[in-house]
């Protein structure tokens, strides 16, 4: 877990203890921290250097706004510059004669085939008629992988096994798609290193034969300093029109995105956010910027929360709470929803300013998850009647629940106590009283 940039800058400025205008010394000290944060996020060294230069120009002499601390002022400038560097999210260029060809390129294991399927699904949902072409004849079973995904999603495809050279397969694939009135053709190509001359020539041949409207580099968000060379290499040989960042659902800071964007100048178009075929999201520069700076990803958290808790359900829940009908079943349901949003650690990571707190409390993810699992097991071991009316639970029933859930009677009691406390709070809230939350004012 990295210390967030805002925490670090706050420390720096606490030591300096200055206010008002930012002096060159203030800025230099702060920018050393910014540089470290960028390098820890895998931003390329040279790209970081240029970036710092631009921030410095903007920061020196900048009037500190009344509402902001000097550290916040620097963060604001850094963040703005970062969002600017990451650029506007790019849309796919889908105008012109059909079918439009989208060619996917990248290193081995960057996620081209998965992304091809995700793109096809997204395009079909937008009312297009996509085709997939299996152009990776090198990796064992790569063709099968694309065909399996295409069948799963019911998207037409063209494949010739590994019997022909990829440029020929791609050319015939585009023709087949055209004959079938497809509007977009997505070419999956084999993973390759940008320094592999023969393999790069093959990409040039595919490009020249199929005239793609889009050539997208599929890049792993966890890539390190190498990102610059990868992006430069592919851009020089085949000319990229955009980037798709994959595996963004992990905990990488994603500094590679800035590096690749900076050296190619092409927009980042989408982000792969998981293994499900619909886990492809539009690129949000502001979110990635705060993530690179270790400042949390509040917006993603809010969106995930929204997708789990819909409004009507929330209202229903509130009524239940007011009427004191909140049962252990509802409690379990809430727990599940929170769990689906991610692990406790993931949720904390998305909250701005939680970096420091997380270090202090040293939340053990696994322990927290184990705890949730225990609660789940205990509630599942109760009969439906007991879940609705925990008062039924006498000593012998509690023993049964404890045995059934692999816990102890003490743990069952602890859960029931917690639940009663919660009900009590809810009741008071319902009556408009200010509840006294235990442990809050000690």
């Amino acid at each position: 877990m990295f210390e967030s940039l805002s925490d670090r800058l706050q420390d720096v400025f606490d030591q300096l203890g200055r206010k008002g205008k930012l002096t060159e010394d203030d800025v230099n000290t702060a920018l050393r921290e910014v540089r470290m944060a960028l390098l820890e996020a895998d931003v390329n060294l040279k790209v970081a250097k240029d970036f710092i230069g631009r921030v410095k120009e903007r920061a020196i002499g900048a009037e500190v706004q009344k509402s902001l601390k000097p550290s916040q002022q620097v963060i604001k400038i850094v963040n703005e510059e970062l969002v600017e560097t990451l650029g506007e999210p790019g849309r796919l260029n889908l105008s012109g004669p059909t079918p439009r060809v989208i060619m996917l390129v990248g290193l081995q294991g960057s996620g081209k085939t998965t992304t091809a399927a995700k793109l096809a699904l997204m395009l079909r949902r937008d009312g297009r008629r996509p085709w997939l072409v299996a152009g990776d004849t090198y990796r064992p079973a790569a063709v099968d992988q694309l065909v399996t995904l295409a069948k799963q999603l019911d998207i037409p495809y063209h494949e010739e096994g590994t019997s022909a050279p990829p440029p020929d397969i791609c050319t015939r694939g585009v023709q087949a798609a055209k004959d079938a009135n497809a509007t977009v053709v997505i070419l999956d190509t084999a993973g390759r290193l940008q320094i592999d001359d023969d393999m790069m020539s093959e990409l040039e041949a595919i490009r020249d034969l199929t005239q793609p409207a889009e050539i997208l580099l599929i890049a792993d968000a966890m890539t390190g300093q190498e990102a610059v060379r990868i992006a430069e290499g592919f851009n020089e040989r085949v000319g990229l029109t955009g980037l798709i960042l994959t595996k963004v659902d992990g905990d990488a800071r994603g500094g590679a995105a800035i590096s690749m964007r900076a050296v190619t100048g092409v927009p980042i178009k989408y982000m792969g956010m998981g293994e499900k075929v619909d886990a492809l999201e539009l690129f949000h520069p502001d979110r990635l910027a705060s993530r690179i700076l270790g400042m949390g990803d509040m917006l993603t958290l809010i969106e995930r929360a929204e997708s789990e808790f819909d409004e009507r359900e929330a209202e229903k829940l509130q009524r239940k709470l007011m009427k004191n009908q909140f049962t252990l079943e509802d409690f379990l349901d809430q727990l599940h929803k929170v769990r689906r949003m991610g692990s406790i650690g993931q949720i904390l990571d998305m909250l701005p300013g939680m970096g420091r707190l997380r270090q202090q409390v040293n939340i053990d993810n696994e322990q927290a998850q184990q705890q949730l699992k225990k609660v789940e097991a205990i509630i599942y071991s109760m009969t439906p009647a007991e879940r609705r009316n925990p008062k039924l639970l006498n000593a012998s029933r509690k023993r049964r629940v404890a045995v059934g859930s692999g816990t102890s009677v003490q743990e069952v009691n602890a859960l029931l106590k917690q639940f009663r406390e919660m009900q009590r709070l809810m009741r008071m809230l319902g009556k408009g009283q200010m509840p006294r939350i235990p442990g809050m004012f000690r």
Partner: protein, 284 residues
């Protein structure tokens, strides 16, 4: 001139740049620079060449001497292979199986990645290439069940080594990591002391996230060693220093290409030297 030194601010900046650009990471780079500065003072180092040699020594000191895989002295040895998506697990398994078969070991593979489309076919093709049998279940079936079947098959066929492929998973995904723990636990139940080796496959082009990957997989399933892939690229794989220093995990193999022969033993000295070479194998 007496006391003249070739080592100035630029030298230090160059070294910092070299290390950071090799993905060594900020904390390791900073501690190396501190160490080198004190060595320059105490040993009176004045020439850049001496400095580079001393730095290589320090880097070499961070790496663990690779040990052979612990795969003999019992009826059946089990290797569990894990890693994030696209790191090169299946390819590395194919190459390892080929190596072992060349050494006259009786190897069997378990297609434990039942999730990704065609992952089973991919391992089967590698099995054919390497000339070793592959035990597989249906796509989307329980990987723990496949592993269980594979152990039975290994016993029946008197195999000496069973290598278990698993689906790629991000270390931050709680549910998928729990599934991996389950696979490991099934192995433990059916073979005493298994898995005997638990290998993490790391993509050599990964940056600082590699440490986070190694830590999380380590916590979940007690990694015993590492395989680093894609080192035929211009990436330097410098994140290995932090991983070895913090977690003490040996690197067994590195992947350097797509053919069956492109898996070689990790050589710490050569690895350190490669940090100082540019893409053409020349000294930088």
């Amino acid at each position: 001139m007496f006391g003249a030194t070739e080592i100035d601010d630029d030298t230090w900046e160059d070294i910092e740049a070299l290390l950071v650009q090799a993905d060594v990471g900020v904390p390791t780079t900073m501690s190396l620079l501190d160490r080198m500065r004190s060595r320059v003072r105490s040993e009176g180092i004045t020439r850049q060449e001496q400095l580079i040699e001393a730095l290589k020594e320090e880097l070499r000191g961070l790496l663990i001497e690779p040990t052979p895989l612990n795969l003999s002295g019992r009826e059946l040895s089990v290797v569990l292979v894990a890693g994030v998506n696209g790191s090169g697990k299946t390819t590395s398994i194919g190459k390892m199986a080929y190596r072992m078969r060349l050494n006259n070991r009786k190897v069997i593979l378990a297609a434990g990645d039942t999730f990704r489309a065609a992952a089973i076919d991919q391992l089967k093709l590698w099995g054919e290439r390497a000339g070793v049998p592959v035990i597989a279940g249906q796509p989307n079936s329980d990987p723990a069940a496949v592993v269980y079947d594979a152990v039975n098959a290994a016993h029946a066929r008197h195999a000496e080594v069973l290598i278990v492929d698993t689906a790629g998973r991000l270390h931050s995904n709680f549910n998928l990591m729990a599934e991996l723990v389950k696979v490991r636990d099934v192995l433990r139940k059916v073979v005493p002391d298994a898995p005997h080796e638990t290998l993490l496959v790391l993509d050599g082009t990964t940056g600082q996230n590699a440490l986070s990957q190694a830590k999380k997989f380590q916590e979940a399933i007690d990694i015993t060693g590492v395989v680093v892939t894609k080192l035929d690229s211009t990436a330097k794989g410098g994140m290995l220093f932090a991983i070895q220093r913090e977690l003490g995990l040996p690197v067994h193999y590195i992947g350097i290409g797509e053919t069956m022969y492109d898996l070689v033993f990790f050589n710490p000295t050569a690895f350190v030297d490669s940090l100082f070479e540019n893409g053409n194998g020349e000294s930088a």
